[in-house]
């Protein structure tokens, strides 16, 4: 039973969004006497110290929380970077969709469509090579013209840009309630 208690506490600390205080733990584990809970926490912390582990339980802001070890930091940064590499932020995705469906297009057009200055996200997409510059528009200021790239097609498994789901198909799929809830969620 004591082991069981230790396990439960470990899972609670793991899943808690904020440092988990002793009071909070006790308030959840009402079936167990306070003394038992305290003992279980003590043993849990000792386990983590004595064994070689990649993660640790630290005390912070009056509570317990899991954290990685400082000496692993450079590996972790590498992972976070790798994980970001093939991914897009919601803003970048929106910009990419605007370009995909409106190409060839310019920064001003994209920004007008989104209602948000899109200089930054456009840059991100260029760096990721999902879009490319194909020339300049013959209009005031001669703005650059953008199109989606071949990498874009590969990334989304498309043979050609004509294979994008059409707005009509989409409205068939998406029209109705759910979409409207996503109101003005701009992550810029």
């Amino acid at each position: 039973m004591k082991n069981r208690l230790k396990e439960v506490i470990e899972s609670l600390i793991f899943i808690s969004l904020e440092p988990l205080t002793l009071e909070k733990i006790k308030s959840i584990l009402t079936e167990f006497p306070d003394g038992e809970v305290e003992l279980a926490i003590k043993e849990l912390l000792e386990n983590y110290v004595s064994n070689e582990r990649g993660i640790q339980i630290i005390q912070s802001a009056g509570g317990y929380l899991f954290s990685t070890k400082p000496e692993h930091d450079s590996w972790i940064r590498r992972l976070l970077k790798v994980e970001r590499k093939n991914k897009l932020s919601p803003a970048a995705l929106e910009t990419l969709s605007a370009i995909a469906y409106h190409q060839p297009t310019t920064l001003a057009e994209i920004s007008a469509l989104r209602g948000v200055d899109s200089t930054h996200t456009l840059k991100t997409l260029l760096i990721k090579k999902l879009i490319k510059i194909v020339g300049r528009k013959k209009s005031p200021g001669k703005p650059l013209i953008y199109r989606t790239s071949d990498k874009f097609l590969t990334h989304f498994g498309l043979n050609s840009i004509q294979d994008l789901p059409s707005p009509e198909e989409l409205s068939k799929i998406l029209e109705e309630e759910s979409i409207l809830e996503e109101e003005d969620k701009d992550s810029q």
Partner: protein, 245 residues
């Protein structure tokens, strides 16, 4: 006993006509490869008959299978010159094939339900530890659907933005004309395209456009384009710069 009520409840329990058929077949302990079509048709229609009314949206498919059953039954009744021999297709085959395929889907869905139940009890972290900023995780792997959905949402949002602007603001030609003249007095000229791209809504742009036309018509302003594809510039008539050549 009110049988109609119990039948009525039951139809909702089934995912569709094939689900109902499978249920009847199992209930009667019938061999799926040798369905007594008359019996099963009767049983099946019984379920539909006890519905007070057919909701065509939901139950059209039930009727479709009813029609198929009746068709097969009629085919079975046609006297044949020789007994069903091997190369003659059993009229039931089309139904049997569909039922067998559906049966597997059904079995798979029961299995997935079990797996789901266990998995829903496992909790995973959805956030990074405090040492790392959440920005670092605020990126997602995107699919074609995400891309298309994002565009769709964008268009919806734009639509709403435009509706809001129209509702919230009323543009009059007169006011817009005054505004244009004021701008021209301060800036000597305005760039046509640039000016329109800074309008908040289509409606505002439209009003601005007509205001400009009105100003040009009444010869207060003049619009000049130096050559094709070059910007059109609008000047107050009394402030047009002398031509350089």
């Amino acid at each position: 006993m009110d049988t109609s009520a119990s039948y009525q409840v039951k139809l909702e329990v089934f995912q569709g006509p094939l689900d109902l058929l499978l249920f009847l077949i199992r209930k009667k302990k019938i061999d799926i490869h040798d369905i007594p079509i008359a019996t099963i048709t009767r049983e099946y229609l019984e379920y539909l008959n006890h519905k007070e009314r057919i909701n065509l949206d939901r139950e059209a498919e039930f009727l479709l299978i009813a029609a198929l059953l009746i068709y097969i039954k009629s085919q079975m009744l046609i006297p044949r010159e020789k007994a069903l021999d091997d190369d003659e297709e059993d009229p039931r085959q089309i139904l049997v094939d569909r039922l067998l395929d559906y049966q597997k889907v059904k079995a798979a869905s029961l299995l997935l339900r079990e797996k789901e139940e266990e998995e829903l009890q496992k909790w995973k972290r959805t956030f990074l530890p405090a040492l790392y900023s959440q920005d670092e995780a605020d990126f997602m792997e995107v699919s074609l659907f995400d891309l298309a959905e994002s565009f769709f949402t964008l268009m919806k949002r734009k639509e709403r933005r435009e509706i809001k602007t129209i509702k919230g603001k009323d543009f009059s030609l007169e006011e817009k004309m005054k505004e244009i003249i004021k701008t021209l007095e301060e800036n000597s000229f305005l760039d046509f395209l640039d000016y329109f791209s800074h309008q908040d809504s289509f409606e505002e742009a439209l009003v601005s456009f007509f205001s400009l036309l009105e100003l040009i018509r009444s010869k207060i302003v003049i619009a000049l384009q130096e050559s094709h594809f070059q910007s059109i510039k609008v000047w107050l008539r009394n402030k047009v710069p002398a031509k350089k050549s």
